[in-house]
């Protein structure tokens, strides 16, 4: 939730979520090795219920239908006793390797155009004007955000498969339901890695503590050896070739940049590194949003993307009802969902499809207009 929601808005969301979970109860995604996972629910009252366990898919689906949570989460780790509230007593057995790509960290140009500050006095400030007390940032989503995230996922996949040797069939990709992608690796060889080892993997992917001297040392003297480069050294060399337009041998680059080879490598690394949230990869006690569950920030689902190139999150993840709902929108930039464009809106009262209304309500920029009978909706 991004703004304080009133009773009417919570009731509308709860009803919409209930309808979705009933409709898709037989196709909800169930975590592999469910009985060893910790389950967590975020309630519509804003409480986080952690340390739950479900022995069977039926138990999990039953709990979802009974409680209709605002958010559903499961642990990336497997435990002997996943329901134990003491993390030290859970008995850690291993964990999937998880990566989180947040479009915010990629700073696409569209972000400055559509993100904004909503202030308590009802005014709206563009992002470039900076924050003020009493104003909250509202993150928006657009096709350009999704494309930026998709590009980063493709770079991560290349690295996981070519460098780390992860088999494609052990990688699962998900659109988060908001403004990011999650990549999960279920590989037996990587399951037992502890925090330090995962920190190494995160560091490798994001090149957050690389040493330019390492890349400089590997640059070949002769052009004929350029083809022997692999992994990051090969990507960094290609970025240097693109920037300087010469075969990236050490003598050629040194002749061009003089003694500043390290700075040239720093620039090349900045162009090729994969931007992930390292803490997500390292933290094995974290619980993750469950695929096919709804994201409380948008009302859209966390969407499995079997084919990351063809996946169309802003259409496929808008899973809530299309039934029109009357809303009063304070301010909303243009929103593109299911192939249609909605808005921009400013102080508008109108009927919108349920999934659009849920997005705007979840963002705290729209209120449900109640009918004279007191019920929500048209």
């Amino acid at each position: 939730m991004e703004g304080g929601l009133g009773e009417g808005e919570i009731e509308f969301l709860r009803t919409s979520y209930r309808e979705y979970y009933y409709r898709s109860s037989s196709s909800l995604w169930i975590p592999p090795r469910l009985e060893s996972r910790e389950i967590g629910f975020l309630t519509f009252e804003g409480h986080f219920k952690r340390h739950m366990r479900a022995g069977t898919p039926g138990e999990l689906v039953g709990a979802v239908l009974r409680e209709v949570p605002w958010g559903i989460f499961y642990s990336v780790s497997y435990y002997e006793d996943p329901g134990n509230p003491d993390m030290d007593e859970k008995g850690w057995l291993g964990a999937d390797l998880a990566f989180d790509i947040d479009v915010k960290d990629l700073h696409p140009a569209c972000m400055d155009a559509h993100d904004f500050y909503a202030c308590a006095d009802g005014s709206v400030r563009p992002l470039s004007d900076g924050a003020l007390p009493g104003c909250r940032r509202v993150d928006w989503v657009c096709p350009s955000c999704v494309e930026a995230g998709r590009r980063e996922v493709l770079r991560l996949l290349d690295l996981l498969q070519r460098d780390l040797g992860v088999r494609p069939d052990s990688i699962s990709i998900y659109y988060s339901g908001h403004r990011g992608f999650h990549v999960h690796v279920e590989d037996e060889g990587l399951r037992d890695l502890g925090r330090e080892a995962r920190a190494q993997v995160a560091d490798y992917v994001s090149l957050s503590s690389y040493d330019p001297a390492f890349f400089a040392r590997l640059l070949p003297i002769s052009e004929g050896h350029l083809g022997t480069l692999v992994g990051w050294p090969a990507r960094v060399a290609e970025a240097l070739r693109a920037k300087y337009g010469v075969p990236p041998t050490r003598p050629a680059l040194e002749a061009l940049v003089g003694g500043d080879l390290r700075a040239a490598i720093d620039a090349a690394v900045a162009a090729v590194r994969v931007r992930i949230d390292p803490q997500v990869t390292v933290d094995i006690s974290r619980i993750f949003r469950m695929p096919t569950s709804l994201n409380e920030k948008t009302g859209m689902s966390k969407l499995p993307c079997a084919d990351i190139v063809a996946c169309d999150p802003l259409t496929e993840a808008a899973v809530l009802s299309e039934e029109p709902v009357k809303v009063e929108v304070s301010y909303a930039p243009k929103l593109q969902l299911k192939g249609y464009t909605y808005g921009p809106y400013r102080r508008s009262t109108l009927k919108l499809p349920g999934f659009v209304a849920a997005f705007l309500v979840s963002k705290g920029v729209a209120k449900i207009v109640k009918s004279r009978g007191g019920a929500s909706g048209p």
Partner: protein, 374 residues
């Protein structure tokens, strides 16, 4: 590969070494094996145990000239004595000293004959660690790599080493393999062998050892206690002033665990900046199985800026989180640095001396603490 008898004398923990003893007519039951003091291999075992546990290193001179079967038996005896102390610190220290000894032998071998050494090192990886270290001879860019190891095995062995040198970000990784020079694979092997030996000694502990062995273990324990700085001088892990991450690391040190490189750096930098006297910090690290007082003191002084350099700052909570060292609990309540926690606990006052991350970044290349130290 099959090992020669001389080789097996240097690899006493292999199954093949046990087989050699059987072929030579040595019984492997405890009562028969340990003829008691007076047997040359028992004397050698006593010296070997003492060297590993008290000195923290095994002087190759101790074993020089001894026949292979005596070298093997001396290892068995030493392991039994160390195991009988029941002291986790002693066991780790012994295992580490033995692993270092093997590393030295393999490095000598690599200097004499690289191909031969590579075959031997690969065989040890396979037999002791169950990992495949493959010979490759692959030119990648300007460097020639001699061996490669599967990623998960590499991560397992390198996770407690200095990430600036051993992190995969500082390595060529391709197709799920990490490429190395032979010497690097030998250094990495030390980590795996030490852990393997520690497990072996723990699992081979005898419940009712012969009298002479129990006496030797007791004497070893006494000597070890005399050789270590007083533990009471070390900062207590229970100190409520310290954040949970620091308390957790102090507890791990107390239990005789070898902390990863960055954890040691962080702990030393925190204690220095918290104003803990250097002697007390050194005493804390004395519980580390690879403790060397001279080197530890030098490094702590270096971190404290007492050796002409700048004082190192304390890493932030975000950095600790990224490295998997954060142990945040409710008492942290929004603090962003371990030093801020300390300041709050001391009633809003300043730490006795010190600074936070900002100036002396611990990750700076060429300014780091060698991995074996502290």
């Amino acid at each position: 590969m099959s090992f020669g008898e001389e080789e097996l004398g240097d690899l006493p923990f292999l199954q093949e070494a046990g087989d050699l003893l059987v072929r030579r007519g040595y019984a492997l039951s405890l009562s028969e094996l340990a003829g008691g003091p007076g047997e040359p291999y028992v004397e050698l075992g006593l010296r070997r145990a003492r060297a590993g546990v008290v000195d923290g290193r095994l002087d190759p001179g101790i074993l020089r000239g001894a026949p292979p079967e005596h070298r093997i038996l001396s290892f068995v005896i030493a392991a039994l004595i160390v195991g009988a102390t029941g002291n986790a610190y002693a066991i780790r220290r012994f295992a580490l000293a033995e692993a270092r000894h093997l590393e030295g032998l393999l490095r000598d071998r690599a200097r004499a004959n690289r191909g031969d050494a590579r075959t031997l090192v690969s065989a040890i990886y396979s037999k002791v660690l169950g990992m495949r270290l493959e010979p490759v001879d692959r030119l990648i860019g300007a460097e020639l790599f001699e061996v490669r190891l599967g990623l998960s095995g590499y991560l397992l062995l390198s996770s407690s080493l200095d990430p600036s040198k051993w992190g995969i970000v500082a390595r060529v990784v391709d197709g799920g393999y990490v490429y190395m020079k032979l010497e690097e694979s030998i250094r990495l092997l030390r980590e795996g062998v030490a852990k393997h030996l520690e497990r072996r000694v723990l699992s081979a502990r005898v419940t009712s050892p012969p009298e002479w062995l129990a006496a030797a273990a007791a004497e070893l324990s006494r000597e070890l206690a005399r050789a270590r700085p007083a533990e009471s001088a070390a900062p207590p892990a229970s100190s409520g002033e310290y954040p949970p991450c620091v308390r957790s690391l102090l507890r791990r040190l107390e239990s005789g665990e070898n902390l990863p490189h960055f954890a040691r750096f962080f702990l030393a930098a925190f204690l220095v900046n918290a104003g803990v006297p250097l002697d007390e910090i050194v005493a804390a690290f004395s519980r580390s199985p690879d403790f060397n007082e001279r080197i530890t003191r030098y490094q702590v002084e270096h971190i404290a800026g007492a050796r002409g350099g700048k004082r190192y700052s304390v890493p932030s909570c975000a950095k600790l989180e990224a490295l998997g060292l954060c142990a945040r609990d409710a008492t942290c309540d929004g603090v962003r640095s371990p030093l801020a926690y300390l300041r709050r606990r001391r009633g809003g006052g300043q730490p006795r001396t010190g600074g936070e991350e900002g100036g002396g970044r611990p990750g700076r290349r060429g300014d780091r603490i060698p991995e074996d130290e502290l």
